[in-house]
């Protein structure tokens, strides 16, 4: 399936885009999506295990992803 993964702050800068399109297996999990995004980024631009949100909630690496999900990579937060 094809997914548009949202990027923010330093991650968006690293990839020069607010979102990137990746193709993953239909039974892909969060970790697979991360791997696919990292393959598009310069070496070491993204950490191995960035925080990921699926449909506006933090998700673990083994969570299954569906084609209709909104997936986002979340840089270390700095609100306040």
């Amino acid at each position: 399936m094809t997914l548009d993964v949202l990027l923010f702050a330093s991650y968006a800068d690293a990839l020069g885009a607010r979102s990137v399109r990746v193709v993953v297996a239909d039974d892909a999990r969060v970790a697979d999506v991360v791997r696919a995004v990292r393959a598009l980024a310069p070496e070491a631009a993204l950490p191995e295990r960035p925080l990921v949100a699926v449909n506006h909630r933090y998700a673990k690496g083994d969570q299954l992803v569906q084609g209709t999900d909104e997936v986002a990579l979340i840089p270390p937060v700095a609100g306040g």
Binding site: F8, V77, A78, G80
Partner: protein
């Protein structure tokens, strides 16, 4: 209970008034502001950006959790996005409660939770013209 990600200046007095209620004996307020120096560098302002839909959801969840945990529905939280100048408010939390202890406990819990989990990022602008993401050295 109300939470919002806002792009206009935060009206702190309005927030304080908003949580007041006759059954409350205590109002606790916390305001985060932009400091002139961070890590030894002179700052002119901070550009806040957010994953807005998720940030709104997290803020709302934090306020609800705080309400349940400390026993009040009188919680208002606003967090800025966009450019926030030196001295201006980036975040404001107002909690009213019958008693002072839980009002202050809830306020502190909320700001700690915001810092931990709300997807908001800041880029500091320095006097020398440089700009840098805060806390994102990869």
């Amino acid at each position: 209970m109300r939470t919002a990600i806002v792009s206009a200046p935060i009206d702190v007095a309005a927030l304080t008034a908003e949580v007041a209620a006759p059954a409350n004996g205590a109002v606790s307020l916390f305001v985060g502001t932009v400091r002139d120096v961070n890590d030894g560098r002179a700052v002119t302002g901070i550009e806040y950006s957010a994953y807005s839909a998720m940030a709104e959801r997290e803020l709302d969840e934090i306020a609800r959790e705080a309400g349940a945990r400390y026993g009040t529905t009188h919680v208002v939280v606003e967090h800025r996005t966009g450019y926030v100048a030196l001295g201006a408010a980036s975040v404001a939390i107002a909690v009213a409660h019958a008693h002072r202890g839980p009002a202050m406990d809830a306020t502190r819990w909320i700001i700690e939770q915001i810092k931990e989990r709300v997807p908001i990022w800041k880029m500091e602008h320095y006097v020398d013209g440089a700009r840098e993401w805060v806390g994102q050295q990869s």
